[in-house]
Amino acid sequence: MLELSGLSKHFGGVRAVDGVNLKVGRGDIVGLIGPNGSGKSTIVNLICGLFPPTAGNVLLAGKDITSLPTHIRVGMGIARTFQNIRLFGQLSVWQNLWVAQNSDQHRKDGSFLKRWLGAPGAARAEIDRTLEFFNLEKKRDELAANLSFGEQRRLEMARALAANPSLLLLDEPAAGMNAEEIEQLDERIRTLRKTGITILLIEHHMELVMAVTDRVAVLNFGQKIADGGPAEIQANPQVREAYLGSSNVK
């Protein structure tokens, strides 16, 4: 599904990402962990094309997408969330999802005018389903800025899912959540997996990572230092040193 080969990004003299190779199979849920500043978010930004890599390639379903602009990649099925919540605060919850919607439904249904002025039947149903999935249907007309923190986190993920992605990049979705919310998140990710979506999960919350992922890759100083099953990673001494040594993790 997704393949990174020799991916590097240098900012001035800093090697934020340094020759990372990673393969994510279709339908897999892969965790990406590492201490703060190890280059996780940079990798996400490179995958969705917010800036060009210094070296290396990004392949999606076998196609080289390294030089494509962001919005084209979104059209090809890459969606993401942000570590610090980013929403269109001045727009309603519904509008946040509506324009982010990127399915075949909204391209074919109804007349041109209907599509541009609203969402015709099937596309509307799709948005409603997504809102219900995230328990946001009662907030549909609320401005995103007026939602509570937990609701905003859910909306952030709902917006990403509205794009109907085949690859979902979750950048620390559990940050700031309480135990109950994390459990809900865990459940939602498990439900999503059944739909066949591929997920790259960046997370500090180890319990969540170990519970839902098939495989975990570990970054340190921009380099991949380990890659394997959750149990294997937990036992890896190099990971323990790099990760547990520098950060207080459950």
Binding site: R86, G89, Q90, A145
Partner: protein, 299 residues
């Protein structure tokens, strides 16, 4: 060749005052990351105050200079208190529009004070132009050059040798860090406005003393020239401001010499436009990052 040198020298003279105007502008922008459109009109307040003293009481150049600088500084503080201090971060556009509203206010207040279109302004120095072989040099222009350089040195000393200057530089490079090490950011901002407007006021005094007349258009003129020189030199850079001013002055002088007065302004704007499109950071500045401080974005 002789013409070329003479024109260049004339351009440098004018460019000095542009440079001073740009220093004031860049100090404000560097500290607050917002555009103060009232910068020129603040200078105009000082200029009109000076002119008022001159026309009504026949004040001499020295007293007029003090009045111009003081008037500009006070107007600068007023603008800071009303348009910049109360605005929360991220309201860069609101601040800018607010400073424009105050521009209108200051301009009308000055027109009420002195309603005629043109008033006389005291000359800096009188005397016949000196001739050096084929070249001529006006004594007042030479005096202006010396005073402009002196002002540049004084501003530089304030920025690099005083406690206030250290705070100013800290705030410019990182506001939050400055706050954390105990710099009173609000006071520094207020001081920056006062200093910047005073420098601008002095530049305004020099320019007006050369022209020996003042009109209500002066406020806009000062804002525009300062803005162009600052953008050419690069935002937030003092050497850049001086360089930008000199470049602007020299190029304007040549454009006027070659084509005519309208080409002078046209060239200045063309230079600015090309500079922004081809090298947005200016001659000395860095390329602009997504500077969230200045945009109409709400979040």
């Amino acid at each position: 060749m002789i013409d070329f040198v003479q024109t260049t020298v004339d351009g440098v003279m004018v460019g000095c005052s542009y440079g001073l105007l740009a220093i004031g502008f860049t100090l404000i922008f560097g500290v607050i990351r917002r555009l103060n459109l009232s910068y020129g009109p603040s200078i105009m307040v000082g200029a009109y105050l000076g002119t008022f003293l001159y026309v009504q009481f026949g004040a001499g150049p020295l007293l007029v200079a003090v009045a111009v600088v003081a008037g500009a500084a006070i107007a600068g503080i007023y603008v800071e208190r009303l348009c910049f201090a109360p605005m929360k971060g991220g309201a860069g556009v609101a601040s800018m529009v607010s400073s424009f509203a105050i521009w209108m206010q200051l301009e009308q207040a000055m027109i009420l004070l002195l309603p005629r279109h043109t008033y006389a302004f005291p000359a800096l120095a009188t005397g016949a132009p000196w001739e050096f072989g084929p070249f001529t040099l006006r004594p007042d222009q030479l005096l202006m050059l010396i005073l402009a350089i002196a002002t540049g040195i004084i501003v530089n000393t304030i920025i690099y040798r005083t406690r206030f200057g250290t705070g100013l530089r800290l705030v410019t490079s990182n506001q939050i860090a400055a706050h954390l090490v105990g710099v009173n950011v609000r006071n520094v901002m207020l001081g920056a406005f006062a200093l910047a407007s005073a420098v601008g006021g002095f530049a305004g005094f020099l320019v007006l003393a050369i022209d020996q007349q003042v009109t209500p258009m002066f406020g806009m003129w000062a804002t525009i020239k300062g803005l162009i020189a600052m953008m050419i030199g690069g935002l937030g850079s003092v050497p850049g401001a001086i360089a930008g001013g000199l470049v602007l002055g020299v190029i304007e002088a040549h454009a006027q010499g070659l084509v005519g007065p309208q080409a002078r302004d046209l060239t200045a704007y063309l230079l600015l436009f090309l500079c922004l499109v081809l090298r947005p950071g200016g001659l000395f500045g860095k390329a602009p990052e997504a500077d969230g401080a200045f945009s109409s974005r709400s979040t």
